[in-house]
């Protein structure tokens, strides 16, 4: 993020433009349907938040640099080069007014992946020095300290100690040859240690070997959110090195949407090679344990509950049925929100929005979309599977004075585990 300049910004945007981007810009007919899919536009009714408008500087660069027609227009002085002012004007649209949720990409009649383009244009904005302070801070901490929230290894070890004491199970650190390497997000380490506890108990019941790496415990990738591929690559590389050093078979992405996108989908492309291990989201692993009969639960939640699909996990990650199958094991009164699944509405804090203090007001306005969805189902409990969604939902619910507990799915499953400790063998307790 050093040496930022407009020229560098434009150069970085040019580098991001490939055949897919060019086909998207060539195909846009200005039908405006992307607006109808966007929570930021819907809740503000401000046309600037129309998704395709957020990438307008990139469109201009593409037209001026990569089309004959655009070059002709430039030569005739009919086009305006992208200026410092454009970067200043669009910064808020590119970062604050988009959670990279990808809902717009799913409704475009010509198939334009608009959120994918916003991810790309951020590379230019970060390089031009037009990224929000909050995200720059988070990314700097991720690189220098190892976690966007500033969580260091001693803090992780302390939490591990607390969890070990409370459940009387070992949380293995740096165990070579373990089958699974579990990644955590800072929020899970600091705010939701019950996640670590849940994983330990589930792994114990399933009889699987697992470990946390002291070199790469953090899964959040703020490099992806801010749009700096170099930093994103470094963060992915740490996980890859740790996983390959320990020789694990599978790396488990935590309940965090962008962490999953970063390590599962963008990671190999960032480091330029495929991994020597698999990457699975914790819900995929749980669902696999379920289908293999390794996940034994007892009792059912009585509360009327619904599930919030995190965008990066459901819409952009394809994990839609897994959480529902898992909820079926432990919940009696599960109801779907309108638009649930691949078309679910974002919590409003994804894509770095929640790490961007400046966007707080806009985020809470956009949260009204979620509020409307929740108002329609009238539930007692909200379940989700992304620590960032969870924090954003809790904040939004509090702001709008909605009394609704938010629970992580992994820990809900863990709460219903049949006790299989040596004193009480599984078969005695199983239903």
């Amino acid at each position: 993020m050093s040496g930022a300049s407009i020229e560098k910004g434009i150069e970085f945007i040019k580098e991001q433009i490939d055949a897919s981007t060019a086909s998207y810009f060539s195909s846009c007919v200005h039908c405006g349907l992307c607006a109808e899919a966007c929570l930021f536009f819907n809740q503000t009714q401000d046309p600037r938040y129309i998704p395709i408008n957020k990438v307008e500087p990139m469109r201009r660069i593409w037209e001026q640099e990569y089309t004959l027609w655009g070059r002709l227009k430039s030569a005739l002085g009919l086009t305006q080069p992208v200026s410092e002012q454009d970067f200043a004007d669009w910064e808020e649209l590119v970062y604050d007014g988009c959670s990279l949720c990808g809902r717009c990409s799913l409704v475009c009649p010509v198939g334009n992946d608009i959120s994918g383009m916003i991810r790309k244009i951020r590379e230019g904005f970060a390089a031009a020095g037009h990224a929000p302070e909050g995200l720059i801070g988070a990314t700097t901490r991720a690189i220098e300290i190892g976690s966007p929230m500033g969580v260091r290894l001693p803090a992780v070890k302390a939490q591990i100690g607390h969890v070990e004491d409370s459940i009387d199970l070992e949380i293995p650190l740096d165990k070579a040859g373990a089958e699974y390497m579990v990644l955590l997000s800072s929020m899970e380490i600091m705010n939701f240690p019950e996640y670590m506890e849940a994983v330990a108990r589930i792994m114990h019941q399933a009889g699987k070997s697992w470990t946390i790496s002291s070199k790469a415990f953090e899964a959040t990738n703020s490099g992806i959110q801010i749009g700096v591929s170099d930093l994103a690559r470094e963060l992915v590389q740490r996980v890859v090195d740790a996983a390959e050093e320990l020789g694990v078979k599978t790396v488990i992405s935590p309940e965090c949407g962008h962490a999953y996108t970063a390590i599962r989908w963008e990671g190999p492309n960032l480091i330029g090679r495929s991994y020597k291990f698999k990457v699975r989201h914790i819900l995929e692993v749980l669902d696999e344990f379920r289908s293999q009969g390794l996940l034994k639960t007892q009792g059912l939640e009585e509360a009327r509950l619904t599930y919030h699909d995190p965008c990066q996990i459901a819409r952009k990650g394809g994990i839609v049925e897994h959480p529902r199958r898992l909820l079926d094991m432990v919940a009696k009164n599960f109801v779907e929100m309108p638009d649930a699944g691949a078309m679910n509405w974002c919590c409003s804090g994804g894509g770095g929005v929640s790490a961007n203090e400046r966007a707080e007001g806009l985020k809470l306005t956009a949260f009204k979309q979620k509020k409307a969805q929740l108002d329609a189902v009238k539930v007692d409990t909200l379940v989700t599977a992304c620590a960032n969604c969870r924090i954003t939902l809790e904040e939004g619910l509090e702001h709008y004075e909605m009394d609704l507990p938010v629970v992580g799915l992994t820990e809900m499953i863990a709460e219903h585990l049949v006790d299989t400790s040596p004193e009480t063998p599984a078969k005695e307790n199983a239903q």
Partner: protein, 219 residues
Amino acid sequence: MSAEALLAWARGPAFEVALVIFIAGMLLRLFEILSLGYKTDLSEARGSGVQGGLRTLFSRSLPRPSILAKEPLRIINSFVMHIGLLAMIFLFGPHVAVFESLLGFGWPNLPSGVIDALSAMTLITLVVALMLRLNNPVLRFLSTPGDYWAWLVTLLPVLTGYLAYNHLLLPYTLMLALHILSVELLLISAPFSKLTHMFSFALSRWYQGYKAGHRGIES
């Protein structure tokens, strides 16, 4: 110039020039897109990119139910307009004859009366499209001169074709000449306007569908 001479010119040299510009221009546009390249995805695939690409190529022709419920007029109007345009262009007897002379083979056509009704309907959808563009805040915000130009060069062939077929406004020969000239304007404009989407939509749907298929996600 007499109407007959104008018609002969429109049918002859003018049409050839327009056709060459259309084909060369579109090939250039597609080359501009494809030459930028697309990197192979190195992440472990969960599904088939090719299957996803093919699926999305067709699936995006139908709107998402939730969006249809929100914007029924905009979506249905555009849907009907595209069907009308395609039917008129490719299924009107005299047009099929033109294609046959160019390609060496033809195909069945729809009765002229049906095409006439479709033209009237398409004209209405084009008027509605303009009204929406002028009145809907989202569309007004997004609209550029290029959008109005694209609208105009799409409208003119439909309008002149309808007037010529029904012998309205001007003598038939003159109106037919104007119809053919308006088609030529459309052909020349297409590669340099958003009308490029008549071909590039297949690429954009393919790219997004390919990525989705690779990831095993809906698209």
